[in-house]
Amino acid sequence: MKIALCVKQVPDTSDIKWTENNTMQREGVESIINPYDLYATEIALQLKKLCNAEITVFTMGPLQASEMLKEVIAVGADNGVLISDRKFAGADTFATGKTLSAAIKKVLPDFDYIICGQFAIDGDTAQTGPCIAGLLNIPQVTYVKEVVKCEGSEITLSRILEDGVEKVKVNSPALLCVLKSEFEPTRALINGIIKAQDSNIKTLTLDDLDLSAEDVGIKGSPTYVSKAFRPEIKHNCEKHMCLENCSGAEIIHSKIKEIGVLNDE
């Protein structure tokens, strides 16, 4: 079984910088692996254990993102692919999906499963995974929590939804989007770290993909940010100081009566 694991480097802090085009300035900002992608990695590792999968981890980002690929290799991924080119900058979810799917087709055309995190904490769009599935025209399973079973190329997964838990069965090829879990993700062991240091990260630029400059980055993005702003604060709060001699309960009680949520006799 061959797995393409897609991960993303995201800014660690609330220190957001924007370019003139209202896209994010990534270089020079402290970066971490997207927390959802740690759980996507867990699912890939489960499949490695259960059905002997080989994991190739992909990311699109600046050159420094190869360090993150090495971290994923240190916990058990086998190979790393960095998709990096200035022309990819400013990509929206569609252009990102297009670039990632072209890279997967190039490096791992015989993949069984593509695994992504459900969300990235910077954009919160949850769109890149299903975009890749749509572009490659393969089935998708979103909101994945766990691998229940793996029989040959067929896997059974649990998905957490608004109204309950679904157990679904899917055969390869397919794409999975993975939710966060409560448990701590796997930590790298010393021999993993040594292996990662020696690992060879393959780097792809636009020239290596079957895409043109019009397909990627800002040019290939149907959407663009017209305005970015800080959310407004709406209210004038009627504030009562009751740290000592507190009459807060009485104040709330009369407010509640005034609002009319209380059936007053």
């Binding site: 800014p11 957001i16 209202n22 979810t93 569609f94 999906g97 904490i121 910077d122 919160d124 769009t125 949850a126 769109q127 995974g129 299903p130 749509g134 572009l135 089935p139 998708q140 399973v141 979103t142 909101y143 939804l161 608004e162 109204d163 309950g164 838990v165 679904e166 157990k167 679904v168 069965k169 899917v170 397919a174 149907p222 959407t223 663009y224 017209s226 305005k227 970015a228 702003f229 800080r230 959310p231 604060i233 709406k234 209210h235 709060c237 009627e238 009562h240 100081m241 009751c242 740290l243 507190c246 807060g248 309960a249 104040i251 709330i252 009680h253 407010k255 509640i256 949520v261 209380l262």
Partner: protein, 331 residues
């Protein structure tokens, strides 16, 4: 300007009801349509046979001009690929200007498949929509956990967006539209069953629905200090006929279950009264509550940001104020 209208996805849930977010979208779409020379507002519906009569009123009373109906036994359960392919073909045929989908689990699963196949743009989980001076859809959404808002435009058609439930209100006018119901043909080969449902275990829904429909929500933050702190809030909520919610901080510390989390990574709520107890008011939490009619907050830090979004603020100790309030209410 071409004017092929606004298409909405009418999601049917597991209990065979049309999801409330559809009616919220319908109301907003009628408002947008006025800025688009009264473009028609249309819906696409997948249903098992015999259900349409139950749904008809919902469409006529929410001002939908036209509904494209796909009817078959096999629409009893949602299938990403089947639904996506049929909608892709419908969009190619009717070429709407705008296509809006509720940002539910199903909507967020479905929408990117459609947009990528149509090579068009999609803006996720929007909290506001407008039409700009050029007649384009301006979709506003929170990013970075709600720290920043971005208004996004789309160069291609249809301009697509998923919209977070509960940010718009359904209409309260008494509209009666002459809705056209157009049956679309369905063939056996349209049904793709690559993902098989083995089992469904009904879950957390009940709790979540309580937050959805509650008139009063009493929510606690990290400052509640323990699970026992939340029991006190439960008592207060019961006395007010409401339910309990929690901030992410409280959930992360294990004081309250994840299912009642409110905010960016939890629920968006719109009660008549929201009582925030020992919640500091990080933006990740407040994005989920600003639709409340009235917010009362209790916090011992006079500079807590929760007061910035509150109508009434009590600077005081929640462990003094709440027990006393419970006592008054019991009398």
């Amino acid at each position: 300007m071409t004017n092929n209208g606004i298409l909405l996805y009418a999601e049917v849930n597991r209990q065979d009801y049309i999801h409330t977010v559809f009616f919220e979208l319908a109301n907003k779409a009628r408002e947008l349509s006025q800025k688009l020379e009264n473009a028609p507002v249309m819906a696409v519906l997948f249903t098992k046979p015999g259900m349409l009569d139950d749904y008809k009123e919902g469409f006529t009373y929410s001002g939908i001009d036209k509904v494209f109906v796909y009817e078959d036994e096999r629409f009893e359960k949602y299938s990403t690929e089947t639904y996506a392919n049929l909608i892709i073909n419908l969009i190619k045929e009717i070429q709407p200007e705008i296509f809006l989908i509720g940002a539910t689990n199903q909507g967020r699963d479905l929408a990117p498949r459609i947009s990528s196949a149509l090579e068009t743009g999609l803006t996720a989980d929007c909290i506001d929509l407008d039409i700009n001076e050029k007649g384009m859809l301006a979709a506003t959404r929170p990013t970075f956990g709600g720290q920043l808002m971005a208004t996004i435009l789309c160069k291609t058609k249809p301009q697509m967006a998923t919209i977070r439930p509960k940010v718009f209100k359904p209409t309260n006018e008494n509209i009666h539209t002459e809705t056209d119901f157009i049956y679309k043909p369905v063939k056996s080969e349209d049904f793709i069953d690559n993902v098989q449902l083995v089992e469904f275990i009904k879950g957390i829904e009940d709790v979540k629905n309580e937050l959805d429909s509650a008139e009063v929500i009493v929510a606690g933050g990290k400052g509640m200090k323990s699970e026992e702190g939340f029991e006190m809030l439960k008592e207060l909520a019961d006395l007010l006929g409401g339910t309990v919610g929690a901030s992410r901080g409280a959930v992360d510390l294990g004081y309250a279950p994840h299912t009642i989390q409110i905010g960016q990574t939890g629920k968006t709520v719109t009660p008549k009264l929201y009582i925030a107890c020992a919640i500091s008011g990080a933006i990740q939490h407040t994005v989920g509550i600003t639709g409340s009619d009235h917010i009362i907050s209790i916090n011992n830090d006079p500079n807590a940001p929760i007061f910035d979004v509150s109508d009434t603020g009590i600077v005081g100790d929640v462990f003094e104020v709440v027990p006393k309030l419970i006592e008054i209410l019991k009398k």
